[in-house]
């Protein structure tokens, strides 16, 4: 059967992801990790994994559970794996972060939490990879956005294998020379494949489809978009090739890394030109807040790319890497994630509550579930704090960074409050709110009766 139904666990993934984001923001406010500690300190690793795994990866997984079927026009394979994967991920990521905290000298925590957490996290991600890979496999030939997702999943697998190796080396369980070489030399690959391949490349692919859908822009596959895929996939492939080169001790790794970096920059440049064309070619004159708030994320991606190229040319990549990773993680990925959540949450809630009633009685519009003027303020505050915090990192000013993180924590919590209001249908005029009966949607847990398919 064709078509896409509501994904049962997506809202639960989003809820868990937002909790991890709030925890990460609090760590930054309290001065836990970079810039108070050094960039490779265990405290920083705890913070980085709270954000990249806890927030961004859970968010991406929840979104893919809902949108991979939309990208390929067929239902998910093994959809029942969604819930066990979520349990494994929440448990695994929590122990991984506590494991890093134990390396940082926190009393009463076993360093074995690190490899245990990594193993459980990888098991959870493996379940998700099975779900998505099987769905994509059955949907061949893949439309272009789905090919981005496939490359992103490939990057995730390699990033996980590298990360798992580090966890065993850092906790002292593994001392094979190859594993130690990878730990010493492969961390930038792990970060590039995770942030660049899994999170960014997948976001780029999905954005092609969702932005054209939200703004009614022409949806044809462009040659330029195919070029973005080819360049990006080639860059990711080159980074993957460096792993065996490290193990075998081959020279020429830096050259390959520079070529991969150039291909990535080119891909991002063409991608951004595509995005400008999608915004300009839209049929819809007034765009909704999710598309407006997305512009901030694209701006962050542009600035990050410029900083990256500038520091490559000036040879100061080590000095600029902190602000750069911050800008990618918060400006681009978190900004885009929050912006699209602002559309996905009301849409899913609307379909869940009013889909069965459409045409039979008056129902609210999707936009009746949100109050854009309120949320627009919080998005502005969010991007302002990203800008200030990036400058603070560049100036090495830890206090300014903590102050702007406090502003960001407030903005994020206010947006979470907006999502909760949407789920509770608080913004819907009361005469339209629940025409079909007294029960509203659960906040983040599926309602089992209403989603059964005939």
């Amino acid at each position: 059967m064709f078509g896409a139904t509501l994904s049962r666990w997506t809202m639960s993934y989003f809820a868990a992801a937002l909790i991890f984001l709030a925890i990460g923001e609090m760590m930054m406010v309290l001065g836990f990790g970079y810039p108070a500690s050094s960039i490779d300190a265990p405290e920083t690793l705890a913070l980085v994994h709270t954000i990249t795994l806890g927030w961004l990866s859970l968010l991406m997984a929840g979104a893919l559970l809902q949108f991979v079927p939309v990208l390929v026009g067929r239902p998910l394979s093994f959809p029942h794996l969604g819930f066990p994967a979520l349990v494994l991920l929440v448990v695994g990521i929590t122990s991984l972060v506590l494991g890093f905290a134990s390396l940082a000298g926190t009393e009463g925590l076993s360093p074995l939490l690190l490899p245990a957490g990594a193993t459980v996290t990888i098991a959870g991600l493996a379940l998700l990879v099975i779900v998505f890979a099987a769905t994509l496999w059955h949907a061949r030939p893949l439309p272009l956005p789905a090919r981005f997702v496939a490359a992103g999943l490939g990057s995730l697998v390699i990033a996980c294998l590298l990360g798992g190796t580090y966890a065993f080396v850092l906790s002292g369980l593994a001392d094979a020379p190859g594993a130690i070489d990878l730990t010493l030399e492969g961390v930038s690959l792990h970060a590039a494949l995770g942030l660049g391949g899994w999170l960014s490349f997948t976001t780029m692919g999905v954005s092609y489809r969702l932005l054209t859908m939200f703004m009614l822009s022409p949806d044809r596959e462009r040659r330029s978009s195919r070029t973005v895929w080819i360049l990006g996939a080639a860059a990711l492939g080159m980074m993957v090739c460096i792993v065996p080169m490290i193990l075998a001790g081959f020279a020429g790794r830096t050259t390959l890394l520079v070529v991969a970096a150039l291909a990535s920059v080119l891909a991002i440049g063409i991608y951004l030109a595509d995005i400008v064309r999608i915004y300009r070619g839209r049929k819809r004159r007034l765009i909704e807040l999710n598309s407006r708030a997305g512009i901030g994320a694209f701006a962050a991606l542009i600035v990050a790319t410029v900083i990256f190229v500038a520091s490559l040319i000036s040879g100061q990549i080590d000095k600029g890497v902190g602000p750069l990773v911050y800008l990618i993680t918060f400006g681009w990925l978190t900004g885009m994630g929050l912006a699209q959540l602002y559309k996905i949450v009301p849409f899913i809630t609307w379909l869940e509550c009013y889909g069965p009633l459409l045409g039979r009685m008056p129902t609210p519009r999707v936009q009746d579930l949100v109050v854009e003027t309120r949320a627009a303020f919080w998005f502005r505050l969010f991007y302002l704090t990203v800008a200030v915090a990036s400058v603070a990192l560049y100036l090495d000013n830890a206090w300014l960074f903590r102050a702007s993180s406090l502003g960001q924590l407030i903005a994020v919590n206010a947006l979470v409050f907006e999502f909760v209001a949407t789920r509770r249908l608080s913004n819907v005029p009361s005469n339209l709110r629940l025409p079909g009966g007294p029960t509203g949607p659960h906040l983040f847990f599926p309602s089992f009766q209403s989603r059964r398919q005939p």
Binding site: M1, F2, G3, A4, T5, P69, V70, G73, M213, F214, M215, L216, P218, D219, R220, K283, R284, F347, W350, L351, G355, P356, L358, G359, R360, T363, V366, R452, Q453, P454
Partner: protein, 178 residues
């Protein structure tokens, strides 16, 4: 999605006295999905038309002036590209559409809202024809739940989605409850 045709000139084979049939069939087997075949021969290959029709190709022939002929065999729209609702969906028995909607300028999910509103007012057995800018993936499960049948596909340019919906019996209201 229009692809460049694969060009096969069988005039040398014909002039050398051999039968080009196998070469043509090999070329047909080698075509990409949706790819046309351009055949150039020394005569109008009438017997081939029915053979190719059997393999799902339409033909367009034109004389080249010097007695040679050029025939463009284009694959007819693939049946498997039409998406139909589950169960027995025999489009030949469907009546002509009673209602038509052009929803190509509406942003999602408005097309779904309009379609369901119109379908609710139609009689069982009637057919609605609608044009949309996107494939209505979230509409399908809702139609199935309400007992309606549907069939749809993109137009040749891949820009407009066309869907036929045949209104089912009025058991849909009960289905929504379970």
């Amino acid at each position: 999605m229009t692809k460049d045709p694969y060009e096969l000139d069988v005039r040398p084979l014909l002039k050398s006295g051999s039968d080009p049939f196998q070469a043509i069939m090999n070329a047909v087997d080698g075509l990409a999905p949706g790819q046309p075949l351009k055949l150039i021969a020394t005569f109008r290959p009438v017997p081939l038309f029915s053979v190719m029709a059997g393999r799902g190709f339409a033909y367009l022939d034109q004389p080249l002036g010097n007695g040679d002929w050029e025939v463009l065999f284009t694959p007819e729209e693939q049946v498997d590209e039409i998406r139909v609702s589950a169960g027995d969906t025999d489009l030949d028995t469907w009546p002509d559409p009673a209602r038509q909607l052009d929803l190509t300028d509406l942003d999602p999910p408005e097309p779904m809202v309009r379609i369901l509103a119109v379908v609710e007012k139609m009689l069982a057995g009637e057919v609605l024809f609608a044009l949309l800018a996107r494939e209505p993936l979230f509409l399908y499960p809702e139609l199935a739940k309400r007992g309606h049948k549907w069939a749809g596909n993109f137009d040749a340019a891949g820009e407009t989605y066309r869907i036929l919906i045949r209104v089912g019996g009025r058991k849909g209201h009960d289905n929504a409850e379970d």
